[in-house]
Amino acid sequence: MDFDRVREKLNILADAAKYDVSCASSGSDRTNKTKGLGNASKMGICHSYTEDGRCISLLKILLTNHCIYDCAYCVTRKSNDIQRAAFKIQEVVDLTINFYRRNYIEGLFLSSGIFKNADYTMERLVAVAKKLREEENFNGYIHLKSIPGASDELMYEAGLYADRLSVNIEVPTISGLKLLAPDKKHEDFTKPMLKVKNEIVRYQAERKIIKSTPKYAPAGQSTQMIVGASGETDKDIMYSATYYYKTYQMKRVYYSGYVPIADDARLPAIGSQVPMLRENRLYQTDWLLRFYGFAVNEILNHEHPNLDMEVDPKLSWALRNLHHFPVDVNTADKRLLARIPGIGMQSVQKIMDARKFRRLNWDHLKKIGVALNRAQYFMVCDSRHWERRDLDAEKIKGMILQTSSGQFRNQYSTQLSLFN
């Protein structure tokens, strides 16, 4: 290994890959049967965290940052004047294996700029995965990027070696895509997604009949959308996320607050704030849709196209729907419990288990871990004390905000501060 050369390439190509937020290593059940190297952990492991607090679980690099496209939001776009580099296939394999053996990573996340054409690039990505699996007997996690416009044959092969495949649609609206990435067509993104989804469905059906059917992308597909680059509403983002979850059976949709990287009139200027709070609210909404049984039009609709930045989306839904409350935690069904602000799914399960033994009061709920500062206005329990005043939504919101603190509070607070 030529240490200096690899070091230089790694710095360039890891730097270019960092805007991909996905670093999940969960969901794969690939096991080490032949005394080889690696064993996927079903729950995923974060081996370290970056200084911005994101999980580092995979070696996330580009194969190359040469690219024929000129997408405005992308740091490796053709017109950007940056240092370019490309890894050899063997170099990526060596890095992955040596990092993995030292327990630095769960596996590889390989993406790439598009050089020559889509198929040529995809072929190289597949070659890396194939080499890892077949020559190195590697059972760790491999996440490959599906290159927009890659052929069905290559996508099929990719799924045989990778645990997860992803295409980043980046811009949630078709009009936004035309504006920011004029060379790319919407169909280029969806075609590989559809192929992979169909293969996953086919393999799952076959496994029911023949148990030894090989694995095909066991951790499914994911995608990513940039938030705050093309003036879209939260409704646009969440509706298109719901569409991708349903149509392509996505395992995850990621939301990435746009980090300004270019002077371009179509985009927020360099130095403007990364919309981290908005990103956070979108993830909260995503969770409500996937785990709490909410429908997207309950949270975002024509009257409410954007999420409330001051309070979380569940609380904001509850404040708009006070007629559902208060809920009695000792009798309500699971679905309803999950809708009380301040009660998470773990608390829901604990409450369901515990209330078989006795009726729960405030003290029990507090110990179980319910956030009572929010929950107290929306529930009753085995106690003579509960919120009896006829409070309206604004009042409750004010009282909750007063008794809590938030990291981003200063960004949206309408209260004037006295001392600066």
């Binding site: 960092k18 492991i45 607090g53 053996r101 980090v259």
Partner: protein, 258 residues
């Protein structure tokens, strides 16, 4: 009235289970269960020393497991937390568990049950952290070596994970605090104690116990760590919440920060 008894055991998990067995078998009213060497006599209780008996321990283990798989792992995890007084808490938990019909004893409004499940969760988190924060360094004898300093005694819990994952390399994980390690010799995992001269922190100074390439890979990893962070999103509070400072000295990517 029966005088209550303090049971003294040899601080192993089997020893504890034997104590539980004896307590049930002889219908002892237990005042306390204590580790030997750390015992303190009660004013009105007798003491009895328990000799570890694997068969007896196994019967208790199976008894709990037959009630609930969840319960046995809770008991084991909570025991490894090494919390003071955890033995009596566990004894109380096991008694309550055994009284139930179907073994589904999940009364989180009971303080013992809640406490045990919280302790087990703490240990589980530490186990998961160790699966993440172990950093192997390749020695000249071709052994991947790591030293760690976990909050709880999690080595027995992580051994399977590493055995399954690194089946084709020799590795050794050494607990600096509890002075023992686990070593995988390409066939099975065994317990070892080492005469470790110096602890291998990821200090700037390099040890000659490791192969030449070792520090190159550490450099590459540190570089990767730096270039994958996004400066305009920096959030030190969240960072230290995920990677608490007490682990930094064993993580090569944090060596400059220590």
């Amino acid at each position: 009235m029966n005088a209550s008894t303090t049971l003294i055991y040899d601080s192993s998990f089997n020893g504890f289970l034997t104590a539980v067995f004896v307590a049930f078998d002889e219908k002892i009213s237990v005042a306390d269960i204590q580790k030997n060497g750390r015992c303190q006599n009660g004013l009105f209780s007798e003491t009895e020393t328990i000799f570890t008996h694997v068969e007896k321990a196994k019967r208790v283990w199976n008894g709990i497991r037959n009630k609930s798989h969840n319960a046995i792992s809770n008991v084991y995890f909570a025991f490894l937390s090494e919390t003071e007084g955890v033995e009596m808490l566990l004894f109380d938990y096991i008694q309550k568990l055994m009284r139930t019909q179907n073994g589904k004893y999940l009364d989180y409004s009971d303080s013992t049950v809640l406490h045990i499940s919280q302790l087990a969760r703490k240990v589980g988190r530490e186990k998961h952290r160790m699966e993440a924060f172990v950093r192997f360094q390749l020695t000249k004898d071709n052994i991947y070596f790591a030293n760690i300093e976990p909050d709880f005694d999690v080595l027995p819990l992580i051994s399977k994970h590493f055995r399954d994952r690194y089946a084709d390399q020799q590795w050794l994980i050494y607990d600096v605090k509890r002075k023992y390690g686990i070593y995988y010799n390409l066939d099975h995992v065994e317990m070892v104690s080492l005469n470790l001269k110096d602890i291998h922190h990821n200090k700037i100074h390099k040890s000659d116990a490791f192969v030449n390439g070792e520090y190159e890979y550490q450099t590459l990893w540190n570089d990767y760590f730096k270039s994958t962070g996004i400066l305009s999103r920096i959030n030190p509070k969240l960072h230290t919440q995920h990677v608490p400072k007490r682990y930094w000295k064993y993580l090569s990517e944090k060596k400059e920060a220590v």
